[in-house]
Amino acid sequence: MSTTAKMASPAVEVIDLAGVKKRREKGDQVFELHVPEFRIKRGEFISIVGESGCGKSTLLDMLGLLLTPTVCQRFHYSVRHPLPGADIERLNAPQLAAIRRRDMGYVLQSGGLLPFLKVRDNIRLPRRINGLAPDSAAVTRICDRLGIAGQLPKLPAFLSGGQRQRVAIARALAHEPPLVLADEPTAAVDKLTAREIRDTFKELTAQMGVTVIVVTHDLDLMLPVSDRAFTFELVKASGSHTISTCVEKPIG
């Protein structure tokens, strides 16, 4: 699918990657991540599953525009309909930062909250950065749904792990981005809490029509709510050269 074709018709794929490769070297160890094809449709809930070291975080960072691919046939982004999409390679750093700021929300493994800001201010941060009003009805609703309305005046340090992850989700959704990237959002909490957080997360993103990409090692936890899943196939090309290829994992 070409850029022109996509610009002419409403894009179905919000993310469209083809022939993307990322090479990383650490000492004499070479790691290559190959992504032959990675297409995500609007509103999908995607899981990227794999053991640690398989490159799932690398893929997420590329999707989050924090890392640039070493080789790339196509890296097309079209999250904000009906605005025309863009080929990532053509954009400069401020433009990439603008997409991150506006179009994406992040949920990090350990929350990634700023320790010096109160919960309320942490949640407001993306709205402030985007020049939006600090509060909105949506934010209030999200906080209520996540059950953190009572935690707003506290500093993150006084929250439990589960509460921190909920705040992280609230922050990722606060500026109502069309895409949310989550890196092991439930890795640091117990199974029960993880399931609760997962369900609330799924519910909120579904209501808001947000496209979600979750990186996880816990396929069992995420599979029930995922529309599709991707995984990795590792091949040792030589003693120190590992190639990991991202492939879709059929569900069901």
Partner: protein, 607 residues
């Protein structure tokens, strides 16, 4: 962003305070160092320039300087003030407050002063006029006097075994600042010192009714004619040069002798002219000659060398240059021509003012003024003219003793006291002086001026040079220390802020992840760095102010009003602040540039 940055600092206030203290710890000593350097050098420089004592040029030996010399010095542009000084020994007097008991008297030194004396004027006192005085602080303490008091001054001298005193009263018009003089001294007009000196020399001072002698002038001669009826033995002739002061002996022909003397000695006389090439001789030399020729029936005719004066006939505009000839009274005995009308043994001082002149010169009023000397202090003598045949028109003839005194007038100043008809010795010159250069820079030039003229002087040139050199060395040492200090504080500042940015890696990465980039992201550590450095600087400044106050307090005994040992001008303080803030921003930027190269992804998952 500002709020975000400050919220972070507040959240970690202990660390923020630590950073501030750390940076303050390196800045504060630097500020102190700067302050001390600036304060001490400025104080010393200020003192050197301000204190007139440092502009003083003091003679180390006493050489007599004539009055004209002081006039010349006064007109020198490098000289701010000069006053003659009497002999040191003559300046000591006793003083006490008039109303107090006389046994409270103290020996004080008189110091001559005059208009424009910087030592008095720049130390908070007016220049005293006649009947007034200014005390040094030590003198005022010693006799317990304050401004407005009337003091009794007592000069004393020994005459034989008798102690004589002369007193006068002086009003205290001022007390000079302590720095002016470390001795118990009194500033008075020069004339009072001259009077005290005269009194101590045994003379009287009519102005204060102090009894004593008059400084009578004495005659000086350049030679003497020994006139005898028959020639003196050759052996005796040669003896006349021994211990008499005369160095030359001649027997001129009568014509030559007339030309030399100005009058005629009868040809029957045998004459020897004894003379001196060097300094003229006094009466004692004549007495010595007289002793040698006793019993030979010789007549001594004192002689003075070519002596010129200006004669102004009273009542006319007739002013002419005349030759003054000594016409010895004793010549009458051997019949010299013209014949002297005076008798030896009469009051010489009185008849000294009568003179023989050509008949044409004595007009209706037989009087005239004779002016001697071309200096600015000419000696004017009123003359009684006696018209006498045989006196040339360009010559006046006076008694030998009068001529001798006029000869003296060519070597030192005299005055004529018309009331008594006495010639009096005027002050010859001054043993010393007090001289102040106009500016510090003139001191060395004046010192060379005096030393080139063989007058060794003491100046503060050495001290001035020392301060200038000390300034240079201190500046050098200061910069060496400052370089190390500045280097250290820069390193510390950069390290601290770099470390704080490093520590903020995760937070900065999160902000980057949230879409902050470029200038907006940079502002975060810049604001923090600026805030920490600014706070540290303010802290250091407070520390400096406190320490400076302590230092200035400790040294207050050595300081005068308005002086500080430790001081920084505001401009320097601002400059230092700007430099420190600049460095802080530089450090933060350096840390950020390094941070920007790291993948934010790595920073996020490094934990």
């Amino acid at each position: 962003m500002l709020r975000l940055a400050l919220a972070d600092l507040r959240h970690e206030w202990i660390l923020t305070a630590c950073l501030m203290l750390a940076i303050c710890a390196v800045i504060a000593p630097l500020l102190l160092l700067f302050g001390l350097k600036y304060g001490t050098i400025e104080t010393l420089r200020h003192r050197l320039i301000q204190d007139p004592k440092n502009r003083e040029i003091r003679p180390l030996s006493s050489v007599s300087h004539p009055k004209e010399w002081f006039e010349t010095m006064r007109s020198d542009t490098q000289v701010a003030f000069v006053t003659p000084m009497t002999r040191q020994i003559a300046s000591s007097v006793a003083m006490w407050v008039r109303e107090s008991a006389p046994d409270s008297k103290q020996d004080l030194d008189l110091i001559p002063t005059g208009d424009g004396d910087p030592l008095v004027l720049e130390n908070g006192a007016p220049v005293p006029s006649l009947g007034e005085c200014v005390l040094t602080e030590f003198a005022a303490e010693a006799i317990g006097a304050s401004v407005g008091d009337v003091l009794t001054m007592e000069a004393s001298r020994m005459r034989g075994s008798r102690r004589e005193t002369g007193t006068t009263e002086l009003k205290v018009t001022g007390i000079v600042n302590r720095r002016a003089s470390a001795i118990k001294a009194v500033f008075v007009p020069l004339s009072l010192l001259e009077d005290v000196e005269s009194f101590k020399d045994g003379l009287g001072v009519p102005a204060f009714n102090w009894p004593g002698d008059k400084p009578l002038a004495y005659p000086l001669y350049d030679g003497v004619v020994v006139s005898t009826e028959s020639p003196l033995p050759t052996l005796l002739q040669s003896r006349l040069r021994a211990n008499t002061g005369f160095t030359r002996i001649a027997s001129p022909a009568p014509a030559a002798l007339k030309a030399t003397l100005g009058y005629t000695i009868p040809e029957t006389q045998s004459n020897i002219l004894l003379s001196t090439e060097l300094r003229p001789l006094a009466d004692s030399s004549l007495a010595a000659v007289e002793t040698q020729i006793r019993g030979y029936g010789a007549t001594l005719l004192p002689w003075v060398r070519e002596l010129k004066g200006t004669l102004t006939i009273t009542g006319t505009a007739d002013t002419r240059s005349v030759r003054i000839v000594a016409l010895p009274e004793d010549g009458k005995r051997i019949g010299i021509l013209p014949e002297p009308p005076w008798d030896k043994g009469s009051d010489e001082q009185i008849h000294a003012i009568s003179a023989l002149v050509h008949p044409d010169l004595a007009g209706q009023l037989p009087s005239a003024d004779l002016v001697l000397g071309q200096t600015d202090q000419p000696l004017t003598i009123p003359l009684q003219l006696i018209a006498t045949e045989g006196v040339p028109a360009d010559t006046i003839m006076v008694g030998a003793r009068t001529a001798g005194i006029l000869r003296l007038a060519t070597t030192r100043p005299l005055s004529f006291d018309a009331s008594s008809g006495h010639f009096l010795l005027s002050r010859r010159g001054y043993a010393g002086f007090r001289l102040y250069a106009r500016a510090l820079e003139d001191v060395d030039g004046l010192r060379r001026f005096f030393e080139n003229r063989g007058i060794p002087v003491h100046t503060e040139a050495q001290r001035i040079q020392t301060v200038i050199e000390m300034d240079r060395y201190l500046t050098l040492i200061f910069w060496l220390i400052a370089t190390v200090g500045i280097g250290g504080s820069m390193a510390s500042l950069i390290a601290s802020l770099y470390a704080s940015v490093e520590r903020k890696k995760r937070e900065l990465s999160v902000l980057r992840l949230l879409g902050l980039s470029g200038p907006r992201l940079f502002r975060f550590p810049l604001i923090q760095g600026g805030f920490i450095a600014g706070g540290a600087y303010l802290l250091a400044w407070g520390f400096f102010t406190a320490m400076a106050a302590v230092i200035n307090h400790l040294f207050r005994g050595h300081l005068q009003a308005g002086e500080s040992f430790c001081y920084l001008p505001v401009s320097t303080a601002i400059l230092a602040g700007v430099i420190i803030l600049g460095l802080a921003c530089l450090a933060a930027t350096a840390a950020l540039i390094r941070l920007a190269r790291i993948d934010p992804a790595e920073a996020l998952r490094d934990e």
